[in-house]
Amino acid sequence: MAGWLTTLRHPIDYRMLRPLAVTLTRLITGANATWVNCEPRADRVRVYFANHGSHLDFATLWAALPGDVRDKTRPVAARDYWGRTRLSRATINVFNGLLIAREGITRRDNPIEQMAEAMRAGHSLILFPEGTRSRDGVIGEFKAGLYHLASKVPDAELVPVYLQNLNRILPKGHLLPIPLISSVVFGAPMLMEAGERKHDFLARAKQSVMNLMAHTPGTSTPQSS
């Protein structure tokens, strides 16, 4: 049997589509990345947590990272949504996504443990603590996952990220994107404080994302004239 046929029997390696995915994402979302009091680091294990309003969110954040950082970063996605069809699983594979369970969590199928394991293997994660996409740019309450993950991997840096306009480019419930310009703002890493309560920590995390709104490009800040 010819060699090329046997190669087809193996599952397709979706990683070869990654450069294309990055280019395509940048083209559609016109995203530019701003780093505020934070530098891209490939040698740190981080959790990038952001507001969530669009299917383009994880792809845009991931594509906004420099190549060496991106190679070590995995977006976390809901298995009940992204694991449904072959196409959606393939899409998540292209972006190196990590599928976790949102419901029916057991000790064996524990999303926090899966995420912690990926981080112990040296990966950074992209997480949307609201758990689902919100509408019209409202940032919903953060779910406890970020808190539990931070308690489990205390040395990881938690980097707040604000995603602007993606909810307008491809809102929830729509299929086709419109060509507006989006931006990705990375903020200063935060750590959980000793003995910090869950509620306080989650409120602080949400506030740190909201604080980045003032740093989106074009916003007039006092120091620029």
């Binding site: 016109g30 530019n32 509408r135 019209d136 306009n165 909810n167 307008r168 809102p171 929830k172 419930g173 729509h174 086709l176 419109i178 060509p179 507006l180 310009i181 490009p217 074009g218 916003t219 007039s220 620029s224």
Partner: protein, 316 residues
């Protein structure tokens, strides 16, 4: 563009001569600058000159390609401008269909109409049909929050960035005579006078600007800059009469009209920006902000210029 005309040769000589001299001056200044502030100013000046090189080359290659090239280039300009305009003005997810139609149907169709030169449809498609269609689609989104504002933003985006800009390539369809340089002449006149007015106002403002006109909208625009800039650009316009069907006096008066409409176009766009708390529309052109920052004065002067030419000078 009529390449054999001496007018064309003079235009090319002057434009590229001025750019060449500006680049040379920039080079000399960058070697001479000693303080940090001085270096920053020179760097900004050079960034602006380089952007002008790109813009001039784009405009001249478009004009050299004739009506089709000009239409395509301004369709792209229009697309980038609409993108910036709608990015800055907030809409909601209920507007998605209306925005999609604006970008991918209304805009291409308007420039298709420029290409086919169907004047009747060209003048009413956006003010009538798109105006009606946009709120219709928005109602289907079923969201009443800021309904009038949201519809108006999309309608304004289409009017300013698509309808008004589409008048620039449509100039080439006007049957006006004599045109020594060919149909590119009136387009070049419009762009040179409107952009020249901006530059001269900036220069006069730097030289002797004291009293701001509307400080809340645009702190850098001064009475001295306005008067000096508008008069200089009008005189330059009068000197460029050979690009157009005008005599020198007519060219000067039309240039004055372009300067005034252009000035207020810039002021209106500035007011929209400031209401949103932003300084630039985008980051497309180094030293100049976005596409909208560059064409804001053309938005208002282009349609007025088109109709002056059509009403007083065109043959049919």
């Amino acid at each position: 563009m009529n390449w054999s005309s001496p007018v064309t040769h003079h235009v090319l000589l002057v434009v590229f001569g001025v750019l060449g001299i500006s680049s040379l001056i920039g080079l000399i200044l960058s070697k001479r600058a000693t303080t940090d502030a001085g270096r920053a100013t020179v760097a900004n000046l050079n960034a602006r000159t380089n952007s002008w090189w790109v813009m001039v080359l784009v405009i001249f290659s478009a004009l050299a390609l004739g009506s089709i090239g000009t239409t395509i280039i301004f369709a792209l300009v229009s697309f980038l401008a609409l993108r910036e305009f709608l990015t800055v003005t907030p809409t909601r997810s209920a507007d998605h269909a209306a925005l999609f139609v604006s970008f991918f149907m209304v805009l291409p169709y308007q420039f298709w109409l420029v290409h086919t030169q169907w004047y009747g449809m060209f003048v009413i498609m956006i003010p009538v049909y798109a105006f009606v269609l946009i709120p219709m689609l928005a109602t289907l989104g079923g969201d009443v929050t800021d309904f009038l504002e949201r519809s108006a933003r999309t309608q304004w985006g289409l009017m300013v960035c698509v309808y008004f800009i589409s008048h620039i390539p449509m100039l080439m369809s006007l049957k006006v005579e004599p045109l020594r340089m060919g149909p590119a002449g009136p387009v070049l006149f419009l762009i040179a006078v409107t952009q020249g007015s901006d530059v001269f106002q900036y220069v006069w403002g730097k030289l002797c600007g004291k009293r701001p006109i509307v400080p809340k909208l645009s702190p850098k625009k001064t009475v001295e800059g306005f008067v000096g800039g508008v008069l200089t650009a009008s005189v330059v316009g009068a000197c460029m009469f050979r690009l157009t069907p005008f005599n020198p006096w007519q060219a000067g008066l039309v240039a004055l009209l372009l300067c005034i409409t252009g000035f207020f176009g810039g002021l209106v766009m500035s007011a929209i920006k400031r209401a949103r708390g932003i300084k630039d529309w985008g980051t497309l052109i180094e030293g100049h902000g976005g596409m909208m920052d560059r064409i804001d004065s053309l938005c208002f002067s282009a349609p007025v210029y088109f109709h002056v030419l059509r009403y007083f000078f065109a043959k049919d």
